[in-house]
Structure formats: C-alpha cells, structure tokens
C-alpha cells in the first residue's frame, strides 16, 4: 500500500515536473518566436550575414558603404569566441540602445538610435532568440571596419551619442494590430525607416525637422515617405503601400531596388500583413514635407515620348570596325539595344509589368536621377515571396559616359525631363554619392586635432557619468 502511494506520488510528481518543463518550453518557444519576428522587423539579416551568395545568417561580414567609409557588420550568432555568445543581456541592451558593445563603441550604421526605441519585452525576446535559436557561426567576418582618422576613434561616438541617441523606449509594442500606434512603433523602432529615409545633418545624425523626408545613402536615394501627396506617399493607396512593402513592386508607382530591395527581401516580405498595414496607416499620418520645386508626384510622369521607329535603325554602320565598337554615347542607340528588349521601345514595360514601365516610375519621375543611375549600374536584385526579380548590372557593360547618356534618354523620354545626369554624377554615385560636409571638413578637424581630442575626452567623461546615473535609476 505504502509502496503504491509512493509510486503514485512519484508519478504525480513527475507529471507535474514534466508539465512545468513543457510550460517553460512553451513560454520559451513563444519568446523565441516573438524574438524571431522582432529580428525580421528589425532587418538584422540584411547586414549581419556573410556577403557571399545567400549568406550565413547573422554571421556578419556584410559591408555597409557609409559616407565615412566601409563599415562591416559583426557576427551576432551565439558563437562564444566570434559572436555574442558570452554577452550578458545587459551588454546586449547596451549595444542595442546605447551603441556600446563590450569591446567598444559601435558606429550608427548599426541603427541603435532607432533600436533604442524598442520595447523592453521585444528587446528581451530578441536576445533570447539570438542566443537560443540561432546557429553559432564560429568564424569572424572576413573584412573589418577600418575607418580613416579621425573616425577610427570609436570613443568619439560617445559625444555623438550624447546629442543624438535620445529616443525613449516604447511601452506599447503590442498596440492594436494594424493601427497607427503599432505602425509608429515599427517605423521608429525595429524597422528603423528613418535610418535611410530621414536626411542626416552635418554631424550625420537624423534631422528630426525632415523626419522621413528622404535621404541619400551609398548612391541610392531613399525617397520621401511622408504623407505629402506630391513629394511623399500621400497619393498611394494603402494596398499599394502594403504590396510595395511585400513585393517591392507598386505597379505604376515604384519598384524597390538597392537597399530597399534588401529590406523587402530580408524583412518586410516576412512580416505579418497587419504590421505592413500598420506601417502604411502610420505613414499616412506623418507630417507632410514637400520638396520646394516639385509640382506633381513622380508617377504623374506617365506619358512617354517615344522616338519615331523610323529613326531607330537608320544608318547603322555595319563595317567590321563599327560592329566591335561599343563606345557609342548616343542614349537612344543604347536604350534601344540594351534596355528596350525588356522595357520596350515606348518604355511601357511588358503587359504584365514583370518588366516594369519606366513611365509612372519613381526612379525616373522623381526629383533625383540617383535610383535610375544606380539601377543601371548595379542592376536590381530582389527576392520576393512570389519570385526573384533580377535586372542585370550594366557597370561592366557600359562606361560612365554611356550610363549618363542612357539615363538622360530615359529621363527625357519617359520621366522627369528637367533632370539630367553627367558622367561625373555617375562616378560620384558609383562611389557612394555626395560626400557629406563632415567628411569634407575632416582635414580642418584634423588641423584642430588637439582641440578635437580634448573635446572627445570631455564628452566621454560626461557620457560615462550620465550612463552610470541612468543605470542607477533603472536598477532602483
């Protein structure tokens, strides 16, 4: 009898134990799932992956071409030697919110100024996911960040952070699905839209007065996504915005390329429709910013001015010397033979818009030709849930002068004819776009190097004092 009781107790006990383990597992896996969706919304994978091919998830190595120089993403797998396997949660939080990793300051190419706004719960879930569900990759990224002086002094970021890293964490990460609150959280927090779409000031921080008003990076232009109906996305339907985020393609409006194609590929297409709807809803509420010179939205450049068929093939030189000579800078000739096979002679693209129209297209009808030029230079590569889009890169096929010529032809015939591109513009965009004042001014800063260093030390002292204080408050 006693023995029986004992057996029953043991059974009961083990059942309780098992169910509590199960409950714990269920809680952990729910947390991991939440962390996974936070990682997706935060687009960690776009940068923290090996650059070759599909890339090893979270292994780092991808190079971000910042105006200050190339910045290489770190290994954030739980590898103890090469990743974040030994980081405490407090260290993780410091990296995500303060831009300070155990081994020193991060550069704001890592968008910690936005991640700072993430809710405590989301941040915790992300930490658990990265530590428990990601496969450790025990190797360091092949390249390393090595910015020129003085930007290689990472401590200088301490002062910068003091001024520019000031967001406060949201506490409503789980606001009503698809609502504007949720949208604002995603846009300003994990999805860090402003990192590209808000222009930067002279010290390379987001200019709050131009919030989501359009910025430049790596030669590409991240357009104005405020609610303005002319310069922003005010004229887009919700469905167009959601479809664009999901597939990178809003027919008759815009196709994602460059960094936005990466955001679609690694982040938006994996997000729940509710969240995409939330982003669309919120963007429609963002205060409108209008480019002064702009009178009509890009997509209203909808009328092609195609060349007369009769002029196109007339008088092509068929001598052997001419047949090997690929140096023509006649934009029409280049368009007809390099572009029209897909985009068609009249720029209308194919009927199904698999090959998109060059009219009614933000890359050709906006206020800058940057994305047109960069699409020609680098091509378009975008993986969507339906298929993969690939426009070939023409940087090996066409010279800078030819890229300028064919871009001008496209602008004249299909887009905003008031824009034009020079060979020098193409060179500049290939090299990452206009050099910011901070970099141009670097020689002067270096001249005043001593003053600069002193300033850094003072700022650093203030910073550490301030951080210590905040931690004290938090732990109180």
């Amino acid at each position: 009898m006693r023995k029986t009781v004992f057996v029953f107790s043991a059974l009961a006990f083990s059942t309780v134990a098992a169910s509590s383990v199960l409950a714990q597992d269920a809680a952990t896996s729910a947390l991991i799932e939440r962390g996974r969706s936070v990682a997706i919304a935060s687009d960690c994978m776009a940068c923290h992956r090996t650059p070759e091919g599909e890339g090893k998830p979270f292994a780092g190595g991808y190079t971000i071409s910042s105006p200050l120089g190339p910045i290489v993403a770190l290994n954030i797998t739980p590898s103890k030697e090469f990743g974040i396997g030994n980081w405490s949660e407090a260290q993780f939080e410091a990296a995500m919110r303060d831009g300070v990793a155990p081994r020193g300051h991060l550069y704001p190419a890592m968008p910690y100024t936005a991640y700072r706004a993430m809710s405590d719960d989301d941040l915790h879930a992300l930490f658990v996911y990265l530590q428990k569900d990601v496969k450790p990759v025990d190797e360091a990224p092949k390249a390393q960040t090595n910015l020129p002086f003085p930007f290689n002094i990472r401590l200088s970021m301490a002062g910068w952070n003091l001024f520019f890293n000031r967001a406060t964490p949201f506490d409503n990460a789980l606001a009503a699905p698809a609502g504007t609150e949720r949208g604002k959280y995603l846009v300003d927090g994990p999805a860090h839209c402003g990192a590209c779409h808000t222009p930067r000031n002279t010290l390379m921080a987001e200019d709050a007065s131009q919030y989501l008003g359009g910025g430049d990076l790596g030669g590409w232009h991240a357009p104005n996504i405020t609610s303005d109906p002319v310069s922003g996305i005010g004229g887009w339907s919700d469905a167009e915005l959601v479809t664009y985020l999901k597939n990178g393609n809003a027919v008759g409006k815009s196709q994602a390329a460059g960094p936005m194609a990466e955001a679609v590929e690694h982040s938006f297409r994996h997000m729940p429709d509710d969240d995409l709807q939330a982003i669309a809803n919120y963007l429609k509420t963002v205060p409108a910013i209008r480019s002064e010179a702009q009178t009509a939205p890009a997509y209203e450049h909808s009328k092609a001015k195609p060349a007369g068929i009769g002029t196109l093939d007339y008088g092509i030189d068929r001598s052997a010397a001419a047949m090997v000579n690929g140096t023509s800078v006649n934009g029409e000739e280049l368009y007809v033979s390099a572009c029209a096979t897909c985009h068609q002679l009249n720029g209308a693209g194919t009927q199904d818009q698999f090959y998109p129209s060059l009219t009614s297209n933000r890359a050709t009808g906006g206020m800058t030709p940057n994305n047109l030029v960069m699409a020609v230079v680098e091509g378009v590569h975008r993986k969507t849930n339906d298929f993969t889009v690939q426009m070939p890169a023409f940087k090996d096929e066409l010279s800078n002068a030819q890229i300028a010529a064919v871009s001008n032809y496209v602008l004249q015939r299909f887009g905003n004819a008031s824009l034009s591109v020079s060979e020098a513009d193409v060179v500049e965009l290939k090299n990452g776009g206009e050099v910011p004042l901070l970099v141009k001014a670097t020689p002067w800063l270096m001249l005043g190097g001593a003053i600069f260093a002193a300033l850094v030390l003072v700022l650093a002292a203030i910073f550490f004092w301030r951080r210590g204080k905040r931690n004290t408050l938090q732990h109180a």
Binding site: R318, V324, S337, F354, P392, E397
Partner: protein
C-alpha cells in the same frame, strides 16, 4: 603597345571552355593570361548588329569578320575539298562561340564513353564516366544549367540516368504548348520526350536574369539569360586573370625536353609578342586548336592532329500539323525525342537525337510563300495559318571517327597576319553507319507526320552539320592513336594541354560543349596542382 608578361599558365582562347579553366586556375591563386584573337563586344552592340543584319538566318552575321579574325562564312577563310561543304560557325571574340549556341547542355551517357568495348565501333574514352562526373557538376553549376532530375536521358523511360551526385542547379522550365502537344500525340507512338538540359537559366543566376522567351538564343540572347563564355571571362578577370584581346596565337615554341617554352602572338596592329609560362592550355575551339598545333608543328608526331573530325551530321523535317501549336513561344528548343538513343544496335548504325525546334517560323513561312508566288491578303492569311501549325524536327546522328574527315591548313591562302586559312575534307557518302540511321529516321518522320495529322513541307534536306566539332585532337590511352591523354595533356609535350570539344574521341548524339567545359575544368585542376 603590347607588354610582355610571364604567367603560370597561358590559356589560348577566351571561350566557355578556356574561360572556365582560366577562372578555376585564377581562383587557385595561379597567374593566368588569356589570349583572345577577337575583342570584347558588349551585348547591346551585338544585339544592334543582329537587328541591323539583313541576313537574319546567318548565325555569324551579327559578329564581325576581319582580315585577321575571319568568320567561318568568309569565303576567303574556309575551303572544302570533300562533297560536304563544312562550315564550323566558330566566333572570334571574348566569350567565343557560345555567344550563339542554343545552350543545350547534355551529359554524355556512361555507354557513350565505351563505344569500342560495348559496340565495337568508334573509340572508348580514356576515362570512366565517374572520373568526369564531379567536373560535370561544377560545369553545370558554373553555367546555371536547368534540367530534370528524374528524366532517363538514355531514352528508355527508366530511372534517372546518367547518375549525378548533385541535383541540377536550376529546375527544368515549364513545357511550351508546342512541346506539350507534340509530346501528347507523338509520344503515343512509342517515342520518349526528354527535357533538354540547358544553360538558359529560368531563374536569376549569377547576375544573369531569367529567360523570358525572347526566342533569340541564336544568334544572341538579348538579355544574357543564356550562358555565354564572356560570363567566366569576366569572372576570370575579376579573379586576377589578364585577358589580352587582338592577340592571335600563331606559334607554340618548343624547348628542351619536349616542353613548350613560349607562345607567340600577333595583333592586327603589328605587334609580335612572345610570352612564357609554365603550362599552356590551347582552348581555341575544335577547329582553331588543331590549326595552331599544325602551324606550330607541335603535338603531331603521329599525324593525328586535325583528323577524325566528327560532327552531328543529320537531316531535318518540316511539316504543318492539323492543329495550331503556336511555335516560337518560349525557348528555341526544349527537349529531344529519343527512340534510337542507346542499345546494342549501336554497332550497326548511328544513334539519333530528334529535336523539335521552336523558333518563330514567320520568316521561313513568308519566304516559302513568296517563292510560291502567293501575294496580297492571301499571303497574310497563309502566313497566319501556317505559322501557327509549323513543326521543325532536326535530327542528329552519331558519326564515327574517320581519318580522312579532317581539317588542315590551306596550302594556298593566308590571312592578314600571314597565318594559313583552313581547308576541310568532310564526307559521309557511302558511310553505312549513318545511311542506315537515315532510313530509320525517315521511318520516324513518317510516324511524326501521321501522328500530327500533318502535311510534309520538306523532308529531303540532305546532310546538315551542327557545328559540333569533335575528334580533331582526340584524347586516348595510347600515344600512337591519340593526341592527348585523359588529362588533355599532349603526348608530345608534357606542359601543353588542350581544352576543347576536339578531345572527344566518340561523338554520341549530344551537343558536346558541356563535356568540353567539364574536361577543361578537370585539366585546370590537374595543372593547378603542378604549377
């Protein structure tokens, strides 16, 4: 102008085979120079040359012919002494002849490599299928080959064959309506329709876009979906190889101990340059490779260079079906019809590959009708009617190596650089092996036409060649009966390697370029371990 370089390896020819081999060597850290007779021509320019061409049915017409780099259609370049007018179609530019192939990338069957021991004809290869298999894999992944992992390519409707260690890098494209209808109706007569593996990627691959059915593989893919050798010429360059264009190799200089010590090249601008290297790969096409060897008087101690020229000579059938099939949508060819692919009968007659061609037929149809004197609204109506129902079947036969079928140097003509032009002797007359297959092929044609309720337009084409050059620098196990060993290493010079479809000692019925690339990669791997 030209600077002199020494390199670990000099590759002569920048086509698909040479560029893939050069790329592998450059990846392994070897210094590599590629010599190319022609120039880089950007794709858009070739597309323009095609559009402005008045000879749309001539595959070489969008490509230039120079007095120092002549097209095979230049009457000053090719002379023929046999009954068959042999034209090899090779192109002289960076990327080579794959600019205008249709990118059929079959693997040879294990049995194709044992013709002598299994069927008593042709030759055995100096290697097993399994020796080449990993290199077929690499070649397919370099090219982004689309294929079926389940087809029995031996045509017996059995399990997947030949064996492969990796799946195709790209899945087979969907079947066109034209192909489906032919398969439905002719397949019932006991013919196996097999998907044709091809280098026209149908998903983005290695920077190339997906094929969108421009139906212009020959003479140029306007969007670069179809693989061409310039892809790996560029990759080789990015991996550190140096490409010298307008550089026609004309002499391989012999040194002590049977080594080749240098290659001499000329440019159209008068430069004459000598380059030294530890090893040399001649990857200059099945025709131009023997030409260089013959003019240099190397690798030819047994007088076999240029002999045993094999092509997939064949015939073709044009008929109209009793239903609209809408040919010309999608890719130019999609598959093969196999009845006579492999079997004991190969001792008696050729294997046959029938390929339904899917070119846009309007031009051929209009040309025929106009010749018949059809004009006015009747012409329009008939073009519409016939173009929808037009079926072209091209059939290729396995040919046997014959010492008298050969390419030699012209004894009377030279090009602008002073290098002799080419002379061919190619004959199939009285060749029972192919004649018997032609009779069987005509029986098949009767079945095809009947199955489709068709009306014959032309079934008397005479022999046609397909520019599938094989045998001219045959590899083998015996220095007396072959030019190279299984490594592509010439028996006469241990640092001179050949990488070309000319190595193939038996022809089967399959487009040979993929085998050439696989052999070239294997050779490059062997060289990489030696230099």
């Amino acid at each position: 102008m030209a600077t002199e370089f020494d390199a670990d390896v000099i590759v002569i020819g920048s086509g698909a085979i040479g560029s893939n081999a050069a790329h592998l060597l450059a990846q392994r850290g070897k210094s590599v120079i590629i010599l190319e007779t022609g120039e880089w021509i950007p794709r858009w320019k070739i597309v323009e040359n095609f559009r402005s061409s008045p000879r749309k049915n001539n595959l070489n017409d969008p490509y230039p012919t120079f007095p120092w780099a002549m097209s095979s259609f230049d009457p000053d370049y090719i002379e023929n002494t046999g009954n068959f007018h042999y034209v090899p179609y090779q192109l002289l530019l960076v990327g080579g002849t794959t600019w205008h192939w249709a990118a059929a990338t079959w693997r040879f069957l294990p049995n194709d490599m044992k013709m002598k021991s299994l069927y008593g004809v042709s030759n055995d290869w100096p290697m097993e299928y399994s020796d080449l298999e990993p290199w077929y894999d690499l070649a397919e992944y370099n090219l982004g080959v689309a294929g079926s992992d389940t087809d029995d390519q031996s045509g017996h409707a059995g399990a997947a064959h030949p064996p492969r260690s990796k799946p195709y890098p790209v899945t087979a494209e969907g079947e066109t309506y034209y192909f489906q209808r032919l398969k439905d109706r002719i397949g019932k007569e006991g013919y196996n329709f097999i998907h044709e593996p091809n280098g026209r990627t149908n998903k983005p691959y290695d920077g190339r876009p997906a094929c969108s059915g421009n139906n212009n593989c020959m003479p140029v893919c306007p969007i670069g979906a179809m693989y061409s050798g310039d892809v790996h010429a560029r990759h080789a360059q990015n991996a550190g190889a140096k490409i010298i264009t307008d550089a026609t190799a004309y002499n391989l200089e012999k040194g002590e101990g049977g080594k080749i010590v240098a290659v001499h090249y000329r440019s159209s601008k008068g430069a004459d340059v000598r380059l030294t290297a530890k090893a040399f790969i001649v990857a200059a096409n099945g025709i131009e490779t023997p030409k260089l060897l013959l003019f240099s008087d190397v690798a030819n101690s047994n007088d076999l260079v240029g002999r045993h020229l094999m092509d997939h000579s064949g015939i073709s059938l044009i008929f109209t079906a009793d239903e609209p099939l809408w040919p010309g949508r999608g890719q130019v060819q999609q598959g093969a019809i196999f009845k006579w692919r492999d079997g004991d009968w190969r001792g008696q007659h050729s294997a046959i590959k029938h390929a339904p061609h899917n070119n846009v037929p309007n031009r051929d149809v209009a040309e025929m009708l106009i010749k018949q004197g059809v004009v006015g609204p009747e012409l329009d109506e008939q073009i519409r009617h016939l173009s929808a129902r037009w079926v072209v079947i091209e059939s290729m036969f396995e040919t046997l190596p014959r010492a008298t079928n050969r390419v030699t140097l012209s004894t009377t003509k030279k090009d602008a650089l002073g290098i002799p032009t080419l002379s061919f002797n190619y004959d199939l007359d009285g060749d029972e092996y192919v004649e018997k297959a032609r009779d069987l092929c005509m029986d098949d044609y009767g079945n095809f036409v009947r199955a489709m309720g068709g009306k014959v337009i032309n079934d008397k084409t005479g022999w046609q060649n397909h520019a599938h050059v094989m045998g001219t620098v045959m590899m083998g196990d015996d220095a007396k009966t072959s030019v190279t060993n299984h490594e592509g290493r010439t028996w006469d010079h241990d640092n001179l390697f050949l990488a070309t479809t000319g190595l193939l000692p038996s022809s089967s019925v399959l487009n040979p370029t993929l085998a050439g690339i696989a052999l070239g990669l294997r050779t490059a791997d062997i060289i990489a371990k030696e230099v």
